[in-house]
């Protein structure tokens, strides 16, 4: 038996934003919590890092749109240094030939220059979609229901009832429309509502971002709704570029967790979870050190948690097979640019920029990825955070942060090095067309392919949602059926990362839900804590 110093009530593996949220809530409830992080700093995929001397950028996640306000309030993030004021940005879609249009807050929508009919339709359509998205998002802070309603506790039934009531409140028309569009592809949806290729292109981009699917693949409307639910008021709420980069969010979370009494140890990589008597007993670090606790919470993705940390030998084959077949192949690359100035098209461009002029452009980009190639012409999302936060780059210089889709994890004839070069070059080519002169401004570039995201951030497959947000992997199917309540099959092991319901984005909701379930087990004495 190891000494009392090494015996905790709960261990959180990984100090990503969800791990920190869980740790903070557990610590607030009086548990003795240690967070073990493999990297030398906290944050996981939400970090601010210097990729060339003097230039700092948000690691993987670069825009914040889903952080749950309730969680931010509970943990007093503002007190701990998170500044979210006045940072909301609109979205601008850049089109070839110097044209563009804006949607979002602050700037009135300028779709009219592209199409009068679409300008008229857009606010109403987005308001309607957001209403539906909000009704669905009502489940974000609850544990997913079980399809066998009879087996649910009263609280689950109550939540389900409330959710059904929320759907009903949409009214019959919207409810029926929701049942129709839920499984549809975003290209068909865009065609139903809009006429201009440009607007359709933007909608399609929102629908496929983060998926290894194209606009014509069913289930992409769901992804659109998923993203809209975090966008805020009527899909027009816009995005946040937090001051100091995404790292400031996790830094605030870490402070909140520490203030509540959690201990955070960085550079402490967990090798595996210790299973004794078919239940969690602690973790073993890569140094061989044992840290014991009867409650182990993993912020790692489901595959890493089940296959590496718990190990297949402690799990039944069906569960292992389901976990192995999760759709978690990343399809997007992250590109960071150091710029010695901005081209004319991007000067004072505080918006989030999207380059996806036509649905078919995105579809063709996806076609390449289907067969394991890097897109010939990737679709791009770009932000220039240094415009609103000059501290990120030397004076007069800028950084740009780009998500380039698609760069598949499973490459066929291409090597990773080649893919890295290709996605970088091709993205710059696409950008050069809509923002001439950009290439000359680039002084340094960093490209992170899904493989790089996997090795540097520990996300299996480089999938930043810890598993794609598709209909077969959400709600009670996340990560897999019968493990949707944050409990892994080994008693005492919990999942608190984005691989659990409600999924990805920097929302903190999975972490919050996991903490609630853990505390429930503590209360009902299923997990004995405090017995050092």
């Amino acid at each position: 038996m190891t000494g009392a110093a090494n015996h905790m009530d709960a261990i959180v593996i990984g100090a990503g934003h969800n791990g920190l949220v869980t740790a903070a809530y557990l610590a607030k409830a009086g548990l003795k919590v240690t967070v073990l992080e493999a990297a030398p700093q906290v944050g996981g995929a939400a970090v601010t890092r210097e990729f060339v001397p003097g230039y700092k950028v948000s690691g993987v996640a670069h825009l914040l749109h889903g952080l749950h306000p309730g969680i931010a309030r509970d943990l007093g993030l503002a007190r701990h240094g998170l500044d979210l004021k006045a940072q909301r940005v609109a979205t601008r879609s850049l089109l070839p030939g110097g044209r563009s249009f804006d949607v979002g807050p602050g700037s009135a929508s300028t779709i009219a220059a592209i199409s009068k009919a679409d300008a008229e339709a857009y606010p109403a359509v987005m308001a309607r979609l957001t209403r539906m998205a909000d009704a669905l998002a009502a489940y974000a802070l609850h544990t997913p229901p079980r399809p066998d309603i009879g087996k649910m506790d009263w609280e689950g039934k109550l939540n389900l009832g409330r959710f059904a009531w929320g759907l009903r409140r949409l009214g019959k028309k919207d409810m029926l429309e929701l049942t129709r569009i839920l499984t549809m592809n975003v290209n068909d949806l865009a065609n139903d509502y809009f006429e201009s290729e440009a607007v359709k292109g933007l909608i399609c981009f929102e629908g496929v971002l983060g998926l290894a699917l194209g606009p014509r693949s069913p289930s992409t409307v769901f992804n659109l709704l998923y993203r809209l639910s975090g966008f805020g008021a009527n899909g027009q709420g816009g995005f946040l570029i937090p001051k100091g980069g995404m790292g400031s969010v996790t830094a605030a979370l870490a402070k909140a967790a520490q203030a509540a009494g959690a201990v955070i140890r960085t550079s402490a990589a967990v090798d595996h979870i210790l299973v004794e008597n078919d239940s969690a007993a602690g973790v073993v670090l890569s140094t061989g050190e044992e840290v014991r606790a009867s409650c182990v919470v993993s912020n790692a993705d489901p595959q890493r948690t089940a296959l590496q940390l718990i190990g297949p030998r402690n799990l039944d084959t069906m569960f292992v097979s389901r976990i192995r077949h999760l759709r978690m192949n990343g399809c997007a690359a992250k590109i960071h640019l150091a710029l010695d100035g901005l081209p004319e098209a991007l000067i004072s461009e505080r918006s989030r920029i999207v380059v996806a002029p036509k649905p078919d452009d995105i579809e063709r980009a996806y076609d390449c990825a289907k067969y394991g190639r890097v897109s010939d012409r990737p679709a791009l999302e770009l932000a220039i955070p240094s415009l609103s936060d000059p501290s990120l780059a030397p004076a007069g210089r800028h950084v740009a942060s780009i998500v380039a889709q698609y760069c598949p994890y499973r490459l066929r004839a291409t090597s990773v090095n080649e893919a890295r070069r290709q996605i970088g070059e091709r993205s710059l080519d696409v950008l050069e067309e809509v923002a001439p002169g950009l290439k000359k401004r680039v002084t340094a570039m960093e490209v992170l392919t899904p493989q790089d995201l996997e090795t540097q951030f520990g996300m299996t497959g480089g999938q930043w949602h810890h598993g794609e947000i598709t209909l077969d992997q959400v709600l009670f199917l996340r990560p897999v059926g019968q493990a949707q309540d944050y409990r892994m099959p080994v008693p005492g092991v919990y999942l608190c990362g984005a691989g659990a319901h409600p999924g990805g984005n920097v929302s903190g909701a999975p972490g919050y839900n996991a903490a609630r379930e853990i505390l429930k087990d503590v209360r009902t004495q299923k997990r004995v804590v405090g017995a050092a």
């Binding site: 399809p147 066998d148 029926l176 049942t179 129709r180 069913p218 289907k370 059926g481």
Partner: protein, 552 residues
């Protein structure tokens, strides 16, 4: 106003005829008030897309649909179709030739299939048991919903009345409870699997079980036939069930040929309908549905003749019904959204057809001779099919298409002269219109050539056997049969257009927006295939309305 008929059915396809026969027979039970039913068919012959025609001397072609299995046994028995001349000959084999090695064979017999699989991969053979179990679980669940009016979950309040189906609420609740009970019987673990199955891509689903690429390609075939989706598209897995849902003579999962071609199916149903007292008029094209005060009262024929009836039933697809047969003005007074629903209804044609007269039996690469006695699926792995889909996406026919071939003359000698054969080739994917514009004769010739070349690759020497080819694009099928864009299912079978959402949200219970107006085609639940279920279900709903006096 003269009201000479109780029901007028627009279109004499298999569903229209089934609906007519059910109505006429259903009314009979009441004894005295026998329903008077009229079927109006545009062409010179009933049958719609289930048709046999002699397009080349001595050869009978099943011009559109080509195999028989989905036809519900309940309908088969109720209408006593064998007595009306329908004979279905089951076949045993579904195979995929392989020019580079051994082909893949699937038998109806589970153990034979597993043995055949063992030649390719022992792992796959072992996984096949597990796979077949999961599939049959899904099938059992789905089959119970086929002959059922899909309940609408948005109107389960039994106290609120709605105009479209004033009696529906209690039934919706009952229906939902029935489905819920079935679902409950699955047990929790299988519940998750089922829900997941409904939203997965067929590629993801099969990857869980199998490793042999060509076997997976063959197994995936049934989930992309007639759809505008590729095997990597989510929501294609459940279409697999189409292949396993059928039965012939009580043999579940069996497929068969209708003796004398698919026209025999329509002929038998028509004969059953006429025996029950249904009047069938051919060469009578309906131009408009006459609507007065929100009530469908009759139809106007192209000839100028007007026929009035107590109820009007459309066997045409939803798009044709609501955009052509019905006036926009009439729709808009009820609800302007319906017109939008009709415009946005997904009914992309994605498949073509080649009917070929052959001088002899072709020899398929990597397959034994008796493979020709079943379905031959020419394709390859997922990528092969997905690439065929890619061509289609951007407005071209697949240069290397996926082909579903049958040679019914191997078991049915009535369709071709002795020693000669008729081969039906279903081509996936073919667009309704090309990116460059409408089909031209040159393009069509090129498409025909591409298909024949593909067969030749998988059956060397095939081209020398060809006597005559009837080549059809979705555009041809639309013009001949009247199905919008030549979509064989009257609308894509994607989840957003199934159950209570088929054809449109809120209209999934066979009733149209007008009083006394009904739908009975494949554009209603449970959808396409020569199944007859939509026709029978529509008739059941109508008879309820007649009994309650809703139709007057």
């Amino acid at each position: 106003m003269q009201q000479s008929y109780d029901a007028i059915i627009i279109g004499g396809g298999h569903n229209g005829l089934t609906c007519a026969a059910y109505l006429a027979k259903g009314g009979e039970k009441d004894g005295k008030n026998k329903l008077k039913v009229l079927v109006l068919e545009r062409r010179e012959k009933v049958g719609g897309a289930a048709m046999s025609e002699e397009k080349f001397p001595g050869f009978i072609y099943s011009t559109c649909s080509y195999v028989c299995s989905l036809l519900r046994p309940e309908i088969f028995r109720f209408l006593d179709l064998p007595r009306h001349g329908l004979q279905v000959i089951p076949y045993e084999i579904n195979s995929a030739p392989n020019p580079e090695g051994e082909g893949i064979i699937y038998y109806n017999d589970h153990d034979r299939t597993r043995e055949a699989l063992r030649r390719h991969s022992i792992r796959d053979a072992e996984a096949y048991d597990e796979y077949a179990m999961e599939i049959s679980r899904h099938c059992r669940f789905i089959k119970r919903t086929l002959l059922m009016t899909p309940p609408d979950p948005t109107q389960i309040n039994p106290f609120v009345q709605n105009r479209i189906n004033p009696w529906g609420h209690r039934e919706d609740l009952d229906g939902l409870l029935r489905i819920g009970r079935e679902f409950g019987r699955l047990g929790e673990r299988h519940m998750y699997d089922m829900i997941r199955f409904w939203s997965m891509s067929v590629a993801d689903f099969l990857d869980q079980y199998f490793e042999t690429p060509r076997w997976k390609g063959l197994a995936a075939a049934s989930s992309i036939i007639g759809t505008a989706l590729g095997p990597y598209s989510p929501g294609t897995a459940y279409v697999l069930l189409h292949h396993y849902m059928g039965e012939v003579d009580g043999q579940i999962g069996a497929w068969g040929f209708a003796r004398g071609g698919m026209g025999s199916v329509s002929k038998a149903i028509a004969s059953a309908a006429e025996e029950a007292g249904v009047e069938i008029r051919v060469n009578a094209e309906v131009e408009k549905v006459i609507v007065k005060d929100g009530k469908a009262v009759g139809v106007a024929l192209k000839s100028g003749e007007e026929i009035y009836g107590k109820s009007i039933v459309s066997n045409a697809d939803p798009k044709r019904t609501y955009l052509k047969l019905v006036d926009k003005g009439d729709l808009d007074t009820i609800d302007p959204d319906i017109h939008r629903y009709a415009r946005n209804y997904k009914i992309r044609g994605s498949s073509g057809k080649l009917n070929i007269a052959l001088d002899g039996l072709p020899d398929f690469a990597g397959l034994p001779k008796d493979a020709a006695y079943g379905t031959i699926d020419i394709g390859g792995d997922f990528d092969y099919i997905e690439r065929a889909f890619d061509d289609y996406k951007y407005g071209s026919w697949s240069k290397r298409p996926f082909l579903d071939c049958v040679i019914p003359t191997t078991v049915d000698p009535t369709m071709a002269p002795p020693g000669k054969h008729f081969m039906s080739v279903f081509v996936q994917y073919v667009p309704y219109q090309l990116a460059e514009g409408p089909w031209t004769p040159e393009m069509k010739a090129q498409y025909e050539q591409d298909v024949l070349d593909t067969i030749e690759m998988h059956a060397p020497g095939f081209k020398k056997l060809v006597l005559h080819v009837q080549c059809r694009t979705p555009w041809d099928i639309e013009n001949e049969v009247g199905m919008t864009e030549g979509n064989i299912f009257h609308g894509e079978l994607t989840l957003d257009q199934l159950l209570f959402n088929r054809p449109f949200p809120g209209m999934g219970q066979y009733r149209g927006p007008f009083d006394n107006f009904y739908m009975c085609g494949s554009g209603t639940h449970p959808g396409g295939g020569v199944m007859g279920a939509p026709g029978a279900n529509a008739a059941t709903e109508m008879l309820k309305d007649f009994k309650r006096g809703v139709v007057q």
